[in-house]
């Protein structure tokens, strides 16, 4: 009786683990983008990626599947980047950034878009943590309802804050 209970539990855990692994693997690009926004060198990128992986797995049992996994993961990942992750104290050199951000597949990639993307990441790095989250969610085309629920502010405030963050970003991109 007891043995079979343990076995069932183990099987459930294994199922859960497998589901987590496949969900997380197929959505890892989101996590990489968040890491690229909140960190500027590869060590920090890996650190933050690790912490987000831990947090997503730790809370995965609570994910009930009534929302999309990616929606749920946005929240956990952003929370980790904003509130849980301790910024490494190491001095950041600007050239570190280009090493990390653009180790990407450059095939079929438009030159001007590459330049734009680089400028965009550099501009986002100058924003504060909350504005980073807002701009990220805007770029990912998230509706205001989701943005306000993720950050825990009212819909109206989310709009006001978003407009201010966009203004700041525009001023940096096009001074």
């Amino acid at each position: 009786m007891y043995d079979s209970l343990v076995l069932t539990n183990l099987r459930v855990l294994k199922d859960l683990e497998n589901k987590f692994l496949s969900d997380f693997e197929s959505n890892q690009n989101i996590v990489h983008k968040i890491c690229r926004i909140y960190t500027t060198h590869s060590d920090a990128h890996n650190d933050l990626f690790q912490e987000i992986t831990i947090q997503v797995w730790k809370n995965y049992a609570q994910f009930r599947g009534d929302s999309k996994f990616s929606t749920w993961m946005y929240r956990v990942a952003l929370n980790t980047a904003i509130s849980l992750y301790r910024k490494s104290t190491r001095k950041v050199k600007t050239q570190d950034f280009s090493d990390v951000a653009f180790k990407m597949k450059a095939t079929d990639y438009d030159d001007t878009e590459e330049v734009q993307l680089k400028a965009l990441y550099e501009a986002i790095h100058l924003l504060n943590d909350i504005d980073k989250a807002l701009i990220f969610l805007y770029l990912e085309d998230k509706p205001y309802k989701e943005i306000s629920e993720t950050l825990g502010i009212s819909n109206v405030n989310a709009r006001v804050k978003m407009n201010r963050a966009k203004e700041k970003l525009k001023n940096i991109l096009n001074p």
Binding site: L21, N29, I54, Q62, N79, S83, R86, Q116, G152, K170
Partner: protein, 204 residues
């Protein structure tokens, strides 16, 4: 067209990360140890409780008790200690419950609020403890002046009061500074982010 629309297009078309993690990598990462702020707050909080309470082990209690008896303070110290332990367990319980309630699946604002609240329980305990130590020190000074009143000149009494006052203030200042450094170091970023997010909600 809006300036940002172009950039948004570039964002959408950005290539996938080249150093994608394999399933095995993700499995290993998920099993590794967290180094989050929340974990550090828990560890440092527990350390503070332990360190503050182990200070008493450095005091020779038998000798202290004879001193207290001489001053007629044994009852005061006895009840003060019972109260102090009661309050210690109260703070420990609050601290632990708050810690347990922290969840990364909350909204960002709620999460930050809970982290700050958890940290506040320890801060309040430290404040309580400093107040308690100051109170005991003052009571002992008053009692020793009372007991030896006939043998002391006015000058000596003033000297004792001054010395106690300065010693108490010095200890409080050093502990307060140390605490600010530790606390500031851990939560400065989080507090700023919280303020940034809470700002608008206070405006309406």
């Amino acid at each position: 067209m809006d300036l940002l629309d172009n950039y948004k297009k570039a964002w959408k078309n950005q290539p996938e990360e080249i150093s994608k993690r394999s399933t095995l990598d993700i499995y290993k990462l998920a099993q590794s140890r967290s180094s989050s702020i929340v974990k550090w707050i828990f560890i440092i909080g527990i350390l503070e409780f332990v360190i503050l309470n182990s200070l008493y082990f450095f005091v020779d209690m038998d000798q202290a008790n004879t001193e207290y008896k001489k001053l007629g303070l044994e009852n005061f110290i006895f009840y003060a200690q019972i109260a102090a332990y009661g309050i210690l367990f109260y703070f420990l319980a609050i601290f632990y419950l708050n810690y347990k309630r922290i969840s990364t699946t909350d909204s960002t604002r709620t999460l930050m609020k809970k982290i700050i609240k958890t940290r506040k329980a320890v801060q309040n305990y430290v404040l309580f403890n400093l107040g308690y130590m100051a109170l005991v020190m003052i009571v002992i000074t008053i009692a020793s002046i009372n007991t030896n009143f006939d043998h002391l000149s006015n000058k000596q009494i003033i000297l004792i009061i001054f010395a106690t006052l300065i010693a108490t203030l010095l200890i409080l200042a050093v502990m307060g500074l140390f605490y600010q450094l530790l606390y500031g170091f851990l939560l400065k970023k989080l507090k700023n982010n919280y303020k940034e997010l809470a700002k608008l909600n206070d405006e309406d």
